[in-house]
Symmetry: C2
Subunit: 189 residues, 2 copies
DNA sequence: GACAAAAACTAATCAAATTAGTTACAATGT
DNA sequence: ACATTGTAACTAATTTGATTAGTTTTTGTC
């Protein structure tokens, strides 16, 4: 047992909270250590430095996102499930802006562990689209369409990039409608 | 006249090139200075530090993107123009991954200068959508839909986040079709 | 109670951004 | 041609943060 009750989980979840509050790129190990009541080198007993912390934040975030989406689509199918999944994604991403930022950096950390973190999510999405009358290949394309839109739109919202004063909630709703209507045209009769 | 022919423009365009080659976050002022044949403190005569450099990269990128899109949609209208604009965005973003990364960080730099950098682009998009038979308010929503999708999809491609081996080009084409078909359902008769 | 492992600590190193203060160059006016 | 002046470069120093090395403390086990 550790002297301070400190462990990797506590570090990650505290870092996630700090990332949401002050921005991912503003976290320093010194601040995190201070916050946890230890000196910064002590963190190295649990994590492998700042890059490793960010990678673990990414995995932590995708796992949480997956849970949210799974809960959101339970008992629903077809386009209603797609809609519910989109809202779950968007809500999680915008409630956790700092963590979502970490989640976007796949490229720096390509390995088995990170692939696994996102593959669970995709298999959920794939099951949802499988209930539509659309070819498997097109389902794969659609998932990419949705991922692109959801990540981009969430990022724009988190960055307060919409100068225009019109409602963001309405934009999201209309966007999801547009996507669903577009997807319907791919149905095979 | 400067001793080395060094000026802000040369710094920015060299930094853009380096960002594309090795990633935005891997650029250091030392490297940039070495590359330009000066010592790193000398850069401070032209730029106001690393954050200012990134802000200027962002503005530089959006301006170039705007030019690309303007050229792409000249002489086209309606959905063909939307399609052409989407492709121009996507191509610029994926040809310039490091620079595109800088372009995404609106939030760190919110001021008149950065607002101007993106507003030009939106007015182009707005003119394009204005040729459709869709209410002005919905046009504003649609622009957000497209921005979200284009930024997110480009980011995913740049980060090699699509593990699945199916064609990315086909996914993009299908995505644009889905969006356009969805947008058509907003037309007023 | 002694030992082994884990987890904390202090001290030191390294790299990078930035600032302070100084020197060299290049344009301009006499 | 020469002195003046502002700009842009330089060197040296500072600061901050990550990381590493080496040491000490605690905790669980025998």
């Amino acid at each position: 047992m550790s002297r301070n009750g400190l462990d990797t989980n506590r570090i990650i979840s505290r870092a996630a909270q700090m990332a949401n509050e002050m921005g991912l790129e503003n976290i320093t190990l010194k601040m995190l250590a201070d916050d946890l009541g230890v000196k910064s080198p002590s963190l190295y007993n649990h994590i492998d430095g700042l890059d490793d912390l960010k990678m673990q934040l990414m995995i932590y975030g995708w796992n949480q996102m997956e849970q949210r989406i799974i809960h959101a689509v339970i008992g629903i199918s077809g386009y209603d499930a797609i809609r519910a999944g989109c809202y779950a994604f968007y809500e999680y991403a915008t409630e956790n802006p700092g963590l979502f930022n970490a989640m976007l950096w796949y490229n720096k950390f390509q390995n088995a562990e990170t692939m696994e973190a996102t593959s669970g999510l995709f298999s959920v999405l794939f099951k949802v689209t499988a209930s539509l009358n659309i070819s498997e290949e097109n389902c794969n394309h659609i998932i990419r369409t949705l991922r692109g839109f959801l990540e981009g739109f969430s990022l724009l919202v988190n960055n307060a990039a919409f100068g225009n004063p019109i409602s963001i909630a309405e934009s999201f709703e209309l966007s999801v409608n547009v996507l669903i209507e577009g997807i319907k045209t791919l149905e095979e009769k």
